[in-house]
Each structure stands twice: as C-alpha cells, then as structure tokens.
Amino acid sequence: MDALDLARWQFGVTTVYHFLFVPLTIGLGIFVAGLQTAWHRTGNEQYLKLTKFFGKLFLINFAMGVVTGIVQEFQFGMNWSEYSTFVGDVFGAPLAMEALLAFFMESTFLGLWIFGWDRLPKKVHLATIWAAAIGSNLSAYFILAANAWMKHPVGYEVVDGRARMTDLWAVLTNSTALAQVPHVIAGSFVVAGGFVLAVCGYWLLRTRAEMWRRAARAALLMTAIAGAVVAGTGDHSAKLMYEQQPMKLAAAEGLEHDTQGAGFSVVPGIEIPKLLSFLSTYDFEAPVQGTEDLQRRFEQQFGPGDYRPDGTVVFWSFRVMIVFGLATVGLSVLGLWLTRRRRPFPAWLSRAMLLALPLPLAAVIAGWLLSEIGRQPWTVAGELLTASSVSPGVSVAEVATSLTIFTLLYGALAVAETVLLARHVRKGVEERAPVQAAEAPREPSLMY
C-alpha cells in the first residue's frame, strides 16, 4: 500500500461514514418540522410528543453528521492537494457557498430551535426548525453540484494546468447535478422514512397507542412518495450516464463489448434481452458501449493506462442499491394499502418495518460506491487522474496514522451512537412535560 491507496481508503471510510448520518439529517429534519407543524395546526398533544421524541433522535444523529462533515472540508487539502490546486477555482465555489448559504442557516437555527422552546413565540420557534431543515437540504444541493462536476465537468477551461471557472451558472445547473440532487435527497427521505418506520414498528409491537400509528402512516407515505422520486430520477440518471459516463454504465452491467440491443444482466448469467439498451435510451436497439472497447478508445484518447473501474464492486453495488431500495419502497406501498381506512398494523408488518432501517441505508451507501468507484480512475472525468490528485508531500506514515485514528474514533462513536439511539427509542415519548424544574428552571427536554 502506498500513500495513494491509504488516502483513498481514508476518503472512502470517512465519506461513507459521514453519509450514514447525512440522509437522516436531511429527511428527519423535514419530518420533525412536519410533526411540529401538525401540532400547531391541530393542537393535538400527540404531535408535540412525537416532535420531541423524534427531535431528540434527530439531534443525536445530527451531532454525528456535523462533526464527520468537518473532516470533509479539510480532507481535500490534506490528502488531495494536487486535486485541490487543480479544481479549487471551480470546485471550491460550491463548497464555500454551502458554508455561507446553507451551513450557517442550519446550525444557527437549530441552536435556536433546541434552546428556544420557551424563549421564542410559538410560530417563530416553528420557523426555526423549518429554516434548519431547509438549510440541510440546501447544503446537499451545493455538495452534490460540486460532486457532479467531478463526473461531468462543465463551465470551465484549463489554463496553466489548473481548471478555471468560466460559468458559475453552468456549474450550478450541471445536468448531472440536477439529476443527482433529487435522486440523493429523495433517497435520504427514504432512509429517514425507513428509520421512522423501524422505530414505529418497534413501538407498534408493544402498544396500541394511536400516536405510533399516525407517525407510521406519515412515514409510510413519505417513503412511498420519495421512493417514486428515487426511481424516476434513477431512470433519468441512467440515461445521463449513458451519454456522460459510458464506462461506469458498462462496468455496472458487466458489459465488455459494444453491443447493439444490449440485455440487462440481473445477476451474472441471467439476462433480460435488450433491456439495458431500453433503460439507457428508451430504444431497444440502441448500441451500448462495453468496458473493453471503451478501454481501447480511452487509450487512444488519453494514452496508455487502465481506465476501467473495479468491475465487481460497481456491478454488485448497483444491484444492492436497486434491490434494497425497491424492497423498502415496496414495503411502504404495501403498508399504506394494508393500513388504509384505519385498519390496524398487522404484527408481521410492524416486524418487517424494522428492516426499513438497514435496507435503505445499505442502498444509499451502495449507490455512492457505484457512483464514485465507477468514476475511477478519474477524480475529474477526462481531466485529472486519481493517482495524480494525491498530496505529494504527505508520507505513507502520516496517512496511515490519520486513517487509523479516524477509523478507531469513528468505530467507537458508531457504537456510542447506536447505544444512545437505541436507549432513547426504548424510552419512548415523554408522557408529560419533563420535571427538571429543580435543576434547571424553564428548560425543556431538548437541552443539556
């Protein structure tokens, strides 16, 4: 292993880990804001209890999302200084905009929400959670715009060995970004919906309280709608991938040679004729490029080298994403149907809902592996190789040290977070206003 491999491992570990918390922050923030809005509209105390209950789970998770996100902001400079110098002119802009336009909003208004229960007028307090939740979603947009540029660079020219932005609007409205943003955000809502479903499933197996039914129905609806968006935007992404990232598409399908009317391989050996061509273009006879032929063309264009991503990882992560994602969405549609018009939740459904936590989480992680490992060997498609992106002055020992530290720390925090979440889920909603008057007067439950 050299510094490049370790730096890639570190980026993979820290980023995948970060993204375990991000979708929950994105989706659960809106869900909690929705619950609080329902409480305002109806005055029903159940919604207030649910707001505080899911609000607490949201905050436990939010903390992890924030602190693991800070690492990302530094990591480009630390391990990928050649990359940073090459792309900063273009790639840095959406990152700076994220901090200024989204992250400030998210953090500041969340602080107001946590501590403002008794200090702000009710309506203003409701507005703070919406502002924080919208901030999270905006933040996702800017990050995805930056990420999309790596796969499909637009609005720039290369001058003196550095990318120079020529059109910010083009970067922000990159077709790849516009396809990716709704896909990732809707995927996050599926994860968050699945999380709520799992929690509600746990409680529906133990109590008949109306409150859990309400929360579960809301989450089923959110998951089903978001699932439809994920599927639709995923289809759109496949078409863009056909045009913009043919190598990734070919690797995801294990297609080695250019094929007219290419079939979709479900698993190696089982193939549905012509489906891949159709999924890529809406045309059953369209030609799809294969990895080996693309490799030959890339060598002619960029010189000798291996331009194929890791086929096994890309192929299987594609399938995990689709199967696990569809399973979650299928479960939510089925659940909506079974519990229509005040029908009770069958016990087996509540049990199945527990699976709605791990399944979509695995699906989104697989989606990222497909997206980013499928981009290899490039950091910026057609412009900069991953091997040329790494920091030249950072030693193997340094990267090994940081990789070890982050992995151990993240592992310990994962255990702590899981224990903490599980404990608060088991504790359930607080039946009345928490009695803490003796210790800290006028402070609600969401505080230190």
């Binding site: 800070i70 480009f76 200084s81 110098t85 700076a96 501590f115 932005m165 003796a438 230190y448």
Partner: protein, 294 residues
C-alpha cells in the same frame, strides 16, 4: 480582487477565533467553575445555542480559502497534516460531547470529550499559525500556548458575563488567574511580530485582566475580543506577504471571474448571516441562571 479576498478570509478567521475562542474556553473551564451537575450544565448552557453556529465560521473560512486561494488551502493543510488531524479529532469529540451530554446517564465521557476537544484545537491553531510564520518547534509551542491561554481567558470572561452566583464568582477568579498567565505568554508570542496590532493586542489583554478585576465583565469581554481581533490581524498582515513558504497570494489565487462571482455571493449572503447570528445572541442575551445548590 485578490487583496479583497485575502481580507475576507482574514475576517472569517478572525470571526472564528473570537467566537469559538470563548466556546473553547468555556468548554475547558466548565468542570473547574462548577461544584455540581446543575452548575456545570448551566456553565455549558452559556454556549449551548451558539457553539455550532460559531464553528461554521471555520468551515466558511476554510471553504473560502479553497475557492479563492486553492493552492494556499492545499499547501497549508497538507503541510500541517498531523496537527490538522488532531484539530479534527478535537472538534469531533467536542461536538459530540456537547450534543450528547444531556442525553446520557453519566456525562463523564462527554465532559472529557468537551475538555480535551476544546483544549486541542485551542492549542493547535496557535501552533499551526506560528509554524506558518516562524521556523522551529519552540515558536509553534509558544504560539500554541498563546492561543490556549487566550481562549481560557476569553472563555472565563464570557462565563463571568453570562452566569450568576457562584459560577460567576469562580469564573471571575479563573479569568484573573488566566490573565496573569496570558500576559507573559502573549509578550513571548506577539513581540516577535512587533507590529502595532500585536503590541496593542498585548495591551488589550492586560486591560481585560484589570477590567475583570474591577468587575467590568462586559468591557473585559470587549477587551479580550479586541485582543483576539488584533492578534489575528497581526498574523494575517504577515501572511499577506507570504501565505506559505515559496508561495505568493497571486500565485495561489483563483481567476478573477471566480473571485468576482464569490464576491457577489458573499456580499448578498453575509449580511443575512450576521443578522441571524446576531439575533441568536439577542435571544439568549440574558445570563444563564445558576440554580442554588440544594
């Protein structure tokens, strides 16, 4: 345009040090100024609603460096690799500690995270910037000791300003001790810069110590904040000439198009950010009442 963006980045770092400076100080002092769980909770509550927003100043400063001076951003963080890793470790354990402390049965681990996670970055930022300006481990050590001491002083003054009763009294004592330690360290760290802001910064730290002794907590806080502003200014005056060894600002900068786009975005967004962050401080302007021990 390059000069303007350098000033903006200096402004963002200054805002970060002033705001997170007292967060770090409060984080380190909370166990020291309290005698029971309720007091400790009250001490941490002074920064509870604001620390996360304060930390975004760092994210924005770093993001702005990446966008406006990519080569500076890349060179700085790859050159100071291990200190930056430790800063990140500190910020991680501190953030998690602050957010989780109220949700666990025994906050011991969270408290440890808050103290260590506040002290590590408070020390390391000083040593990183000193390492940028001067050679040798001694300079880095002195720089680190300086920022650590200033953060403790700044945080102690903030605690005295924002609490009541025994916590306020102990915070004041802590501030006077911290002031006594900070002044000689500041002389060692800042006299090598020797510029006017550096000298005035030392004077402001001395004034802060005198003011807290006279129980002028608001003025003392203004003085420690002013000292941090001036010290940061002094550092960035040096960095303007040489942001990194062998690198000038012009070489590090993004193209004029990018900088002008960023300027428009900054001009539009920054007033809003300042307004709603200011509003947060207004909402939580009252002292945190420290409950009497039962």
């Amino acid at each position: 345009m390059i000069e303007l963006w350098f000033v903006i980045i200096a402004f963002l770092w200054t805002g970060y040090f002033v705001l997170e400076g007292f967060d770090f100080g409060v984080g380190m002092l909370a166990p020291l100024v309290s005698r029971n769980a309720a007091e400790q909770r009250a001490a941490l509550q002074t920064i509870g609603p604001v620390w996360d927003g304060n930390e975004v100043w760092l994210i924005t400063a770093v993001g702005a460096m990446f966008a406006a001076f990519p080569a500076w951003y890349a060179g700085l963080f790859s050159a100071f690799y291990l200190p930056v890793v430790l800063v990140l470790v500190g910020l991680i354990v501190r953030g998690v500690g602050l957010e989780w402390r109220g949700k666990v049965d025994d906050p011991l681990w969270c408290d440890l995270g808050i103290v260590v996670g506040s002290a590590l970055p408070a020390f390391l930022w000083g040593s990183v910037f000193a390492g940028l300006l001067f050679d040798g481990p001694l300079a880095a050590l002195v720089g680190g000791a300086f920022t650590l001491a200033v953060c403790v002083l700044h945080g102690a003054v903030f605690l005295a300003l924002k609490t009541t009763g025994p916590v306020r009294r102990r915070a004041r004592t802590a501030a006077m001790i911290a002031g006594g330690v900070t002044i000689p360290v500041a002389v060692a760290a800042l006299s090598s810069l020797g510029t006017v802001p550096a000298l005035v910064s030392m004077a402001a730290l001395a004034a802060a110590t005198a003011l807290i002794w006279r129980r002028r907590e608001g003025w003392a806080f203004a003085a420690t904040a002013g000292a941090i502003v001036l010290a940061t200014l002094a550092v960035f005056m040096e960095l303007r000439v040489r942001p990194l060894p062998g690198l000038t600002l012009a070489e590090a900068a993004s193209a004029p198009y990018t900088l002008s786009m960023l300027t428009w975005i900054g001009l539009i967004a920054l007033p809003f950010v300042l307004a709603y962050q200011g509003w947060t401080y207004w909402v939580f302007r009252k002292r945190v009442r420290v409950p009497a021990a039962s």
